[in-house]
Amino acid sequence: MFELKQIKKTYVKEGKTIQALKKTDLTTETGEFVAVQGPSGSGKTTLLLIAGGLLHPDEGQVLVDGKDLYKMKTDTRTGFRSRYIGFVFQQYHLIPYLSVLENIVAPSIVHGRHEHWDRGIELIKQFGLQHRENHVPAELSAGEKQRTALARALFFRPQILLADEITGNLDHQNAQIVIGCLKEHARQGGTVLLVTHDQEVAAQADRMEQLHNATCERNES
């Protein structure tokens, strides 16, 4: 189970305090694909970063199977993240000088092991990127880039997959492919948390939450 409890986060920008999240709760079960939908600037990315252990909330807890991420030491949390959480972003964040295969296996740096190339090849095939294996990101289409980023996020078979506007730069066809991948991950027992402004994309999730007035509200529609 993946839980966000009473999360509160404020930013101070140019002397003004901005309430990004206030007392937000969100719970996802194993094998569930949850989408958080909200307009730009509603705090979706903040929610995702807090959920992924990258941004310390002012208040609240993030529990993964009962373990509070923010009670861990930084290094422990980083290690935990590498094993349990995968990230995918709208801007892909691929390493520009590495090939598709190398980008996919880049997480193996964390453990310094070299026996991960087979897993990389497996993901290449799974995401239909065989013909791009040795290409660098600059030579890929937007869809290929996002599939590469998704493959990298799934490299260690994380329990939780966090996706931030991952269809934002994709055409409908590629968006469907990517969403299909997320569904597949959930179907295989993973937890997916997708944040998006696109209602149509969010509607494809098992459950949709609306980020409104800096809190999550279940969308019953």
Binding site: T46, S82, F89, Q91, P96, Y97, A106
Partner: protein, 421 residues
């Protein structure tokens, strides 16, 4: 995938960034190694110059030594051994000694193994009236050289006057129209002229040389002499005191004076020449040392300045690299790469930059230093310690220059980057 692979691939991708840092490191090392090479080359050149100067001095001294030997051959370093009671004032006034000592002294001296004395010439001199010619002359009785008991046979430098024969001084021969082979009478005895000497401008011009024994008989001083002339002494410089001591030990009743100041002067000249040569070598060494000190002082300013500038430049290069890789660092953190690995990502690059820069800088600096000093051969060779020093300095420079940007990168908050994007 390892950090090293990531470092190498990033370098491959951003070659210019790496090369500009590499040039900076190589330049610093080249200046350092170049300075050290120049100093070493300078020392080697100094050694060569000094050796050459010393060789020239030795050759010059050998020539002087030869000249000195020749001078000694003809002029000798002569000693006059006189009776102890001989007043030197009288000697210098009259030109000869008036007191006597036993002739046996010459024999004793010849047996004494004093190596510095050669060619002993005992003589009996006296100013007399030449009754047959009504002239004042100096009568000199000589027996030629006293044979040395320990030395190999040597050609005598002065042959004795045979009995019944005489050698006539220039003035006497000229004024009385005497010729070799003619006979004349002296103190009632008849002598045949053996030889008439050339003009010498000394008492010798009014001297008649005859056999010592005949002179002793004519002057009523049998077995007596009043001087022993020691010719061609093998004297080291003017160490007359030592010779006096040696002779005094054998002949307590004598005194020893020098003759031949010309020789002394030349010996002094030789010493002066040797001293001047030595001073020239010393001056050259001093000059070379001064140039070395100047080079050292210049290097002591230049090397730290270049290192400082390079350090700043490397810092800027890495700072730019960190900014350029902001997104990469953010995602690496997001996927669980720890901050110390992010730090090592940059420090390993700096390490590689330092190591390669050290090699390039070492070669460039060595060749540059040799070229600067005009050394074309590879005589300076590979210096392991200098190379290790270069490597350490280069790595230290690259690590120091890159440390702050690398640290900033490792401390970068991935949330900031990912949220901004």
């Amino acid at each position: 995938m390892s950090i090293w692979q990531l470092v190498v691939k990033e370098i491959h991708r951003r070659k210019l960034n790496f090369i500009s840092g590499l040039i900076s490191v190589a330049l610093s090392v080249a200046v350092l190694v170049g300075s050290l090479t120049m100093l070493k080359a300078h020392d080697m050149r100094t050694g060569e110059i000094v050796a050459q100067k010393e060789k020239e001095t030795r050759q010059r001294m050998a020539v002087l030594e030869d000249d000195y030997r020749k001078i000694m051959k003809y002029l000798g370093f002569n000693l006059l051994i006189l009776p102890r009671d001989q007043k030197l004032g009288d000697l210098y006034t009259d030109g000869f000694a008036s007191r006597t000592m036993p002739e046996e002294y010459a024999t004793r001296l010849s047996k004494a193994n004093i190596v510095t004395i050669r060619h002993l010439l005992p003589s009996l001199q006296q100013k007399i009236k030449w009754p047959e010619k009504q002239r004042t002359i100096v009568l000199m009785g000589t027996r030629g050289e006293v044979a040395s008991s320990y030395r190999d046979d040597q050609e005598p430098i002065l042959v004795a006057v045979p009995k019944g024969r005489a050698v006539i001084g220039y003035e006497l021969a000229a004024s009385m129209h005497l010729r070799a082979g003619e006979k004349f009478r002296l103190l009632g005895r008849t002598f045949t002229i053996e030889q008439c000497n050339e003009e010498r401008g000394t008492n010798d011009d009014i001297t008649i040389w005859i056999d010592l024994q005949e002179a002793q008989g004519l002057l009523g001083k049998p077995g007596k002499i009043n001087a022993i002339l020691a010719l061609k002494c093998l004297c080291a410089g003017n160490d007359i005191a030592q010779i006096r001591q040696q002779i005094g030990a054998v002949l307590p009743g004598v005194q020893v004076i020098e003759q031949g100041t010309k020789v002394l002067t030349r010996a002094e000249a030789r010493k002066r020449a040797a001293k001047e040569s030595a001073e020239a070598v010393t001056a050259e060494i001093r000059n070379r040392q001064r140039i070395r000190r100047e080079q050292e002082a210049f290097s002591a300013i230049l090397v730290p300045l270049v290192f400082l500038a390079s350090g700043i430049w490397i810092g800027l290069i890495f700072l730019s690299n960190v900014r350029e890789r902001k997104s990469e660092i953010g995602i690496l953190s997001a996927i669980g790469v720890q901050s110390r690995k992010v730090l090592s990502l940059f420090l390993m690059k700096a390490l590689l930059m330092g190591a390669v820069g050290a090699v390039v800088g070492y070669i460039t600096g060595t060749l540059g230093g040799m070229q600067w000093q005009g050394i074309r051969s590879l005589s300076i060779g590979f210096d392991a310690w200098r190379f290790i020093l270069s490597l350490l300095m280069a790595v230290l420079l690259a690590l120091t220059g890159s440390w702050i940007p690398a640290f900033l990168a490792s401390r970068q908050d991935p949330a900031d980057v990912l949220r901004e994007e």
